[in-house]
Subunit: 157 residues, 2 copies
DNA sequence: TTTTTTGCAAAACCTTTGCAGTTGG
DNA sequence: CCAACTGCAAAGGTTTTGCAAAAAA
């Protein structure tokens, strides 16, 4: 399996701090990387590599998709960025300082609810003590059916 | 998004019942479909389409992968089969009568723990009452780190 | 015989990799 | 200047689709 090569989350809250963090890791603050970061700072929530490459939230496009993936991976490796798997579809990327947040997703309407880890503490504790597994809801969220979608007839009748 | 077109789970416990169910839905009990079902009955847990097509558990190969996907989708549609997303990697298929079980997966060592829904009732209830979301752990399991993997040093140092 | 299903080929989708040329420090 | 980085092209892994040939009923 492809393990997430994410370092410890860095509390990087702005572009300058991100650039400093890159430099301190011997990385270059290239134009493409700045644009990726700007897109992430501008985004309302987790966004796909394709959205970033194509220009999210009215931002300058980051250009090549392969390079965008490489840059996201690099930034994730040094702890500035995280990604989350919201059900089907491509992985979504966020700044790590926001990624402490955890997600609950409706698998039908795709509505994403972002919550503070504390709100899932009880759930996490029960699962850890009962099964020995420490859930990673920031990476693989809780997926299910929201109230609205449960009330709608299924598409199978 | 590609919604799961799964009908209500049918309590189909053997090949004959599966064939009867297919017929009752106007489907043909083709050789390829029988082989897919035999592979699923023989499998110890959820298996990928590729494993089924290639011959799981010493079974006759089901042949073409595209047809296998089509057949799994068809069987899922009539409620005989279900699939689950165990972290990264391909979807895994099971017979629906076994799929009431829910899963917890370690994202590092990929160990899969299969539990009866009852064991997750408390967790499910807390999440439903707190967030309004009815979790579908049989389709998107709880993913995290198992005890062993938590104790090991990460591959980042 | 008629309708469904198959197998093959091709494509779609997400992501990674190789490489030659460009750029940042 | 030189290592790091980019863009492009290609490929890898998973899943879907189109279509003529084959099989089930």
């Amino acid at each position: 399996m492809t393990v997430s090569h994410a370092g410890p989350a860095l509390p990087v809250h702005d572009l300058d701090a991100a650039i400093a963090a890159m430099r301190s890791h011997g990385l270059r603050a290239s134009a493409a990387r700045r644009i990726v970061l700007e897109a992430l700072f501008a985004a309302a929530g987790p966004v796909s590599a394709e959205q970033i490459a194509g220009g999210v939230a009215g931002r300058v496009p980051a250009g090549d998709l392969a390079s965008t993936y490489r840059n996201l991976e690099t930034l994730e490796h040094i702890g500035i960025v995280r990604h989350v798997h919201l059900g089907h579809g491509p992985g979504r990327y966020t700044l790590a300082y926001r990624a402490g947040r955890e997600y609950l997703v409706c698998e039908r309407c795709e509505e994403v609810r972002e919550v503070e880890p504390r709100e899932l503490d009880d759930v996490r504790t029960v699962i850890r003590t009962t099964f020995g597994l420490e859930p990673a809801f920031a990476h693989f969220p809780i997926v299910g059916l929201c109230t609205t979608c449960r009330e709608e007839p299924s598409d199978d009748g």
